[in-house]
C-alpha cells in the first residue's frame, strides 16, 4: 500500500517523487518503459526558458517564472550540468522589432527580470557570427541550458535513495477507486495507493480517462533536431530563437551543456503512438529555417538526428490539479514547453496539493538532498585522476574514446539507484555513444560491461526498448541454411 503512486517517470514524475521523498510518505514511481526519462524528457531542446513567452496569467507563465531560478540549487545538489548562458530572440525587420517588444512587455507582466532589448551592434558584439540581417534582439540573461534526462535520472536516483520505490516496465491498464484507495493495474502488477498522480506525458489523457471523465485531450507534436559535433561549438554562445511570426514559431539554435550544438525543431502533428521518426521534410524544414539566424551552419558536422514528441494540451495551458471528479487523482498533464523550465515549480505546486489532501505532510528527517558523488573523469585534473585510479583502477580504462569516459563511470552508472540497464541508458547517464563515432568504438565494450555487471548474457542486452537486442545470436550456427527469396515491395 502506498500513500502516493506517480505514473510516469519523466521530468515531472521524477521531480515530484524526489520532492515528496522529503516527507514521511510511501511513494511509488512507475513507468511503462524500461528506464526513467524515456519519453519527451530525453528528446527536447534542453532549454530553461527565461519566462517571457507564456501568456500572462496562465499556469505556464507563473510556473516558468517561479521555476527558472530554482535550477541552480537543484543542479548543484544533484550534480547535473546547467549553464545560464542567456538567450536572444532575434528581430530581422520592423515587424519583428514590434514582436520582440511585445515579448519584453509580456516578460515584465510575468515578473521576468534581467531582460534587455538590444540593437544590432550589441547583438553582434555578443554573437559575432549571427546573421548580418539581424537588426536587434530580446536578450534574456536568465535563460539557460541543461541536461534534461540527466536531471530526471538524478532526481529518480535521489528519490530512491530517500525511500521512493521505482517500478519500471509497468504499463497502466486500469485504475479503480474504492473507499479512498486506488487500485492501479499494470500488465505485471497491482498497486494500491491513496493518491495517484498522472505524469504520463503524451499518454496523460489516456491515463486520466481510465478513472475520470475525459476532461482534456493531448495532441502529439513531433519536433526534429540536428546535433552537431563539438567542433561546431564556436558557432554560438547563447540560445538563439527566431521571432514567432507568420511563418510559425521558427527554429532555434543552441549550445548544449556538453559542447554540442542543437538545431531544430519543426512541429508536426502526429497521430501514431510514439511516432518518433525523423523525416526528410522535417529535417529540410529545420535546415532552411535555421539559415535566417545563421548563414553557414556546418551541417556537415552533424553527428546525430533525433525527434521528440510534445504533449500539447487542447486547453492551451498546463493541466495541474486534483481531478474535479475523482478526489485524490492528480493530473500533471499537457506539460509542453515551458514544462522543463517549470518543472521545479510544478513539483512544488503538486507537493502543496498533496499536503492539502493529506492534511499535513511530516518531514522525513533522513532526507538527503545530494546523491553519491559522480566522477567525471574527463573533467578532472591529473592529480584527481591519479587519486581516483588508485582507489578504483576501473577509472583507468577508457571505454569511450570520443568523450573519454572510463569503465569506472559506466560501472557506477549501472549500480546506482535508477541505474542503467541498457546501452542507451548508459549513454544517457555517462555519455559513451554521444560523440563523433556514435558508439562505433565503445558499443561492444559497453555491452560487455552491462552483461558482466548485470550478470546477463550479452545477447540479452538491449539498446533501448524491450525488443532491441543488438546481438541476435552467435556465429558458427551449424549448417548454414538456404534462404527464401528476397522480399522487395
Amino acid at each position: 500500500m502506498f500513500d502516493v503512486l506517480i505514473i510516469g517517470a519523466g521530468i515531472c514524475g521524477t521531480y515530484i517523487a524526489r520532492e515528496l521523498s522529503r516527507f514521511k510518505l510511501r511513494v511509488a514511481l512507475i513507468d511503462k518503459a524500461n528506464d526513467v526519462s524515456n519519453g519527451t524528457t530525453k528528446a527536447n531542446s534542453a532549454i530553461i526558458h527565461a519566462g517571457y513567452d507564456p501568456e500572462p496569467g496562465t499556469l505556464m507563465a507563473k510556473l516558468n517564472a517561479r521555476g527558472n531560478p530554482m535550477f541552480d540549487p537543484i543542479c548543484h545538489d544533484l550534480d547535473v550540468p546547467f549553464q545560464r548562458i542567456g538567450s536572444f530572440v532575434l528581430a530581422f525587420n520592423q515587424d519583428d522589432l514590434k514582436i520582440i517588444r511585445n515579448l519584453y512587455n509580456r516578460g515584465i507582466q510575468n515578473s521576468i527580470r534581467n531582460m534587455d532589448l538590444i540593437d544590432k551592434n550589441q547583438l553582434h558584439y555578443l554573437e559575432p557570427s549571427i546573421h548580418p540581417n539581424a537588426v536587434g534582439a530580446l536578450y534574456a540573461k536568465t535563460a539557460g541550458i541543461i541536461g534534461p534526462w540527466e536531471l530526471a535520472i538524478a532526481l529518480a536516483e535521489n528519490a530512491m535513495d530517500n525511500g521512493v520505490k521505482l517500478f519500471l516496465n509497468n504499463t497502466v491498464q486500469a485504475i479503480h477507486k474504492e473507499d479512498s484507495v486506488f487500485t492501479v493495474k499494470t500488465q505485471n502488477s497491482t498497486f494500491h495507493s491513496k493518491i495517484v498522480i498522472n505524469c504520463a506525458g503524451v499518454h496523460a489523457a489516456r491515463i486520466n480517462n481510465l478513472i475520470a471523465p475525459a476532461a482534456f485531450k493531448i495532441n502529439q507534436r513531433r519536433g526534429e533536431y540536428y546535433v552537431l559535433d563539438k567542433t561546431a561549438s564556436d558557432l554560438i554562445h547563447h540560445v538563439i530563437f527566431q521571432p514567432p511570426g507568420s511563418y510559425g514559431k521558427g527554429v532555434l539554435i543552441t549550445p548544449t551543456v556538453h559542447g554540442n550544438v542543437l538545431v531544430g525543431p519543426n512541429s508536426d502533428f502526429v497521430t501514431d503512438d510514439d511516432a518518433l521518426q525523423t523525416t526528410d521534410g522535417g529535417l529540410d524544414f529545420v535546415r532552411e529555417m535555421s539559415k535566417k539566424s545563421y548563414q553557414n551552419i556546418p551541417f556537415n558536422k552533424t553527428i546525430n538526428i533525433f525527434a521528440g514528441l510534445r504533449a500539447e494540451p487542447d486547453t492551451g495551458d498546463f493541466i495541474i490539479g486534483e481531478s474535479p471528479d475523482v478526489k485524490g487523482f492528480l493530473n500533471v498533464a499537457g506539460i509542453k514547453s515551458p514544462g522543463l523550465s517549470a518543472s521545479p515549480a510544478i513539483a512544488e505546486m503538486v507537493v502543496e496539493i498533496v499536503d492539502r489532501i493529506t492534511s499535513g505532510l511530516k518531514p522525513n528527517p533522513a532526507f538527503k538532498a545530494t546523491r553519491k558523488k559522480v566522477y567525471h573523469f574527463s573533467e578532472m585534473t591529473d592529480m584527481e585522476k591519479s587519486n581516483l585510479i588508485d582507489r578504483d583502477p576501473r577509472y583507468a580504462r577508457i571505454v569511450c574514446r570520443c568523450e573519454n569516459i572510463t569503465e569506472g563511470e559506466i560501472v557506477d552508472a549501472i549500480h546506482r539507484n535508477a541505474g542503467a540497464t541498457t546501452v542507451d541508458g548508459v549513454k544517457r547517464r555517462v555519455r559513451p555513444g554521444t560523440g563523433r563515432c556514435q558508439g562505433g568504438f565503445c558499443m561492444p565494450r559497453v555491452i560487455e560491461i552491462l552483461a558482466r555487471e548485470l550478470k546477463q548474457d550479452m545477447s540479452t542486452i538491449l539498446k533501448d526498448g524491450p525488443n532491441s537486442q543488438i546481438i541476435t545470436g552467435t556465429t558458427k550456427t551449424v549448417d548454414t541454411i538456404k534462404h527464401e527469396e528476397t522480399v522487395v515491395a
Binding site: T475, K476, T477, V478, D479, T480
Partner: protein
C-alpha cells in the same frame, strides 16, 4: 549455357568479359572483352574450376577470445565453400594454437587443410 558475363580480377582494370561455350575453340570457350592474355586464363579457370581461399573463424575454448581466425591453406573449389563452413562450425579447437597450425586436414574432401591464421593463447597480450 550460351554465354556468361564475368569480370576479370587479374588486375585492377576489371575488364568485363563475355564467355561463350564453343566446342571448336582451343579450351572449349570463346572469350570477348579482355585486354590481355591473363583475361583468357582467368575466364577459363572461372568456367572450369573456380576456386577461392576461404577465411573464417572457428570456435576455440579456454582462450582469451572465443573465436580463432582460420583459412584454407590454398584455394578450394567454390562449390565446396558451404560444406567447409558446416565442417568448421561443428568444431571447437583448444588453446593454445600457433599460427599456421593445421586444424582440419582435407576439409570437406578438398584435399586442402584448414590452418590457423594467428597465434592464440589465454593470456593478454595474446600474441606474445
Amino acid at each position: 549455357m550460351q554465354s556468361k558475363e564475368i569480370i576479370c580480377t587479374a588486375c585492377p582494370i576489371g575488364c568485363r568479359l563475355t564467355v561463350y561455350r564453343d566446342e571448336s575453340a582451343e579450351k572449349g570457350f570463346q572469350i570477348e572483352g579482355n585486354t590481355c592474355k591473363r583475361g583468357i586464363d582467368y575466364a577459363i579457370t572461372e568456367m572450369t574450376d573456380p576456386r577461392r581461399i576461404l577465411t573464417s573463424t572457428i570456435k576455440i575454448s579456454n582462450s582469451s577470445y572465443k573465436r580463432l581466425p582460420v583459412r584454407t591453406e590454398s584455394a578450394i573449389p567454390m562449390g565446396k565453400i558451404f560444406d567447409c563452413m558446416n565442417e568448421i562450425n561443428r568444431i571447437t579447437v583448444k588453446c593454445p594454437v600457433k599460427m599456421g597450425a593445421v586444424l582440419i586436414k582435407n576439409i570437406a574432401e578438398t584435399g586442402i587443410s584448414l590452418i590457423s591464421s594467428r597465434d592464440m593463447n589465454n593470456q593478454i597480450p595474446i600474441n606474445q
